[in-house]
Symmetry: C2
Subunit: 354 residues, 2 copies
Amino acid sequence: MAAGRPTIIDVARDAGVSPATAGRVLGGYGTPSPELVRRVQDSARRLGYRANDVARSIVTGSTRVIGVVVSDIENPFFARAVNGISDRARAAGYEMLLVSTRMDLARERSAVEALMAKRVDGMIVASASVSEGGHLRRVREAGVPLVLLDRRNDGAGAVDSVLLDNRAAAQRAVSHLLDLGHRAVAVVTSATPSESRSARRRRSAAEFPSSLRFEGYLDALDEAGVTCDPGWVLRCDDADAACERVRDLLVTRPEVTAVFATTNVMTGGAFRAIMDGDRRCPEDVSLMGFDDHEWSTLVRPQLSVVAQPAYDLGAAAGTVLLGRLAGPGSRSAPSETILQSSLIVRGSVAAPPA
Amino acid sequence: MAAGRPTIIDVARDAGVSPATAGRVLGGYGTPSPELVRRVQDSARRLGYRANDVARSIVTGSTRVIGVVVSDIENPFFARAVNGISDRARAAGYEMLLVSTRMDLARERSAVEALMAKRVDGMIVASASVSEGGHLRRVREAGVPLVLLDRRNDGAGAVDSVLLDNRAAAQRAVSHLLDLGHRAVAVVTSATPSESRSARRRRSAAEFPSSLRFEGYLDALDEAGVTCDPGWVLRCDDADAACERVRDLLVTRPEVTAVFATTNVMTGGAFRAIMDGDRRCPEDVSLMGFDDHEWSTLVRPQLSVVAQPAYDLGAAAGTVLLGRLAGPGSRSAPSETILQSSLIVRGSVAAPPA
């Protein structure tokens, strides 16, 4: 315990009242007598006791705090989404308890548990998993409103969610490349193709954004009557791996004239490989990235991207959660809010070489 | 109040005991009788009351939460520093209550007030002000350990701080340009030159990183016997303004052969201006930026920068705060931890044209 921080117990002892009475006086609840109010307030002042939402929360059951769990605050997508949540929360008089789980499900589980123990009023979670959701189901079972951000979760049960239309976003981007005349279009993805194919069959299962974007890529090829060559699918987990895989592809797959990177992390790696390689962009090979980066217009050629409305996704999640907390609508069926992306075409995309 | 979330008051009423007794039983404090323990635990189970750090904190005075206030979580410097804090906090069993104030001092004041009311055990603040610190002084007066991150604050009084050696970092970067033969070196800064000059006289006053970096620029010119031309000092507050000022400079000041941008935000704007202009980089004009961006090596020429150890700054702030919370050292004098930057020289810097 930090020096100089009297608890409500200290105040109660000093005033000669029960902690519950001290809590009622200092929290402004109930109808303590004027004499009790004076005694408790005198003790609180003398001891330097501070107005305390913790004591209040014991009585009201509300802490005016929402918990937010994201997988990586250094990812600009999540940083911007968090600012969207934060602005909405603040406007409604809520503070935000944020945890960045570094993409670790164990860390997410303990963060959610801790946030429950801290009695947050509601929670917004971008989970590291789309299947394991026991910890999220327990949030709902405790009656705490929960909104899933950016990905669904099969284990969470029926719950509010705010998502990008990832499949349509990718489909539109790849169709743009096909419309320009490209036929051999490679994809840089963290999705495991076999998993994705099985998920594709059981449409109800939750999928990661990366898997949905891979599905959108396949949709676009299907529509154009192009058969996907497995050699065009570059499976990798980080920017360095993306860079290596694209570098190899540019050498070993001369037929490929366009590359679609399905995450902001992959996009940096793919761009680096093209910078380092011998083929010119966009004359020999086009690049379509994901997320509109600060550097999209600083590089040459400027980068074409699928731009996600990250701030709006966060703000929408905040709005849905605050709606639940506001009361009347809190018993209604779970909602699903789907936002659309924008396709921004810049210098990195052109028709394939004749 | 959310449906289905019984408070300790509900449990106490159901068990026929006082809230204080219910709190002692459920928090595991004091020596209630076995019969009371059984009654309260039965009621808690029946009502679905969850283990609750809030109730515990009333008794122990500790919430195992630290509060972190930064000016903008979308700034990659702060996002990375926050991950450094978060990793340290988690390793020590603390959760982190993060607030991003969007560079608004009023918002910072209310965030600090709210965090105090939530009874955080300690706080790390990167303040939006270096002079107005009444809200920070009150944190200290309440006995809550406080660590300042990235900038000092005159109003906070004697307090732990973790800082970059900003002045030396800038001095070294500009000296590198001067050593290459540059004489007319422009600086892009958010510091107000007149304020900086007066702050320079009263060395004890706290200054923003931007002001200290401007001082370092002047130090380097002084050392090299170069008189600073006021036309070389480009005062601006955001990337767009930086871009405009540098664009003008490249046209109106042909004698300037190098530009030093003193923040990561300014660096993007300055680079954009050079991309858009008629003078070649680095043949005609060199650019030295601040912070090592993801895009530093994606652009051509690759960007030379002063690289801050952002993660390490956050981790160091976490370590200092946790040391205070751990106890024995908590009454010692305030510490000041100063980390050094690295100078990374890449293609955007070369000797001036002959």
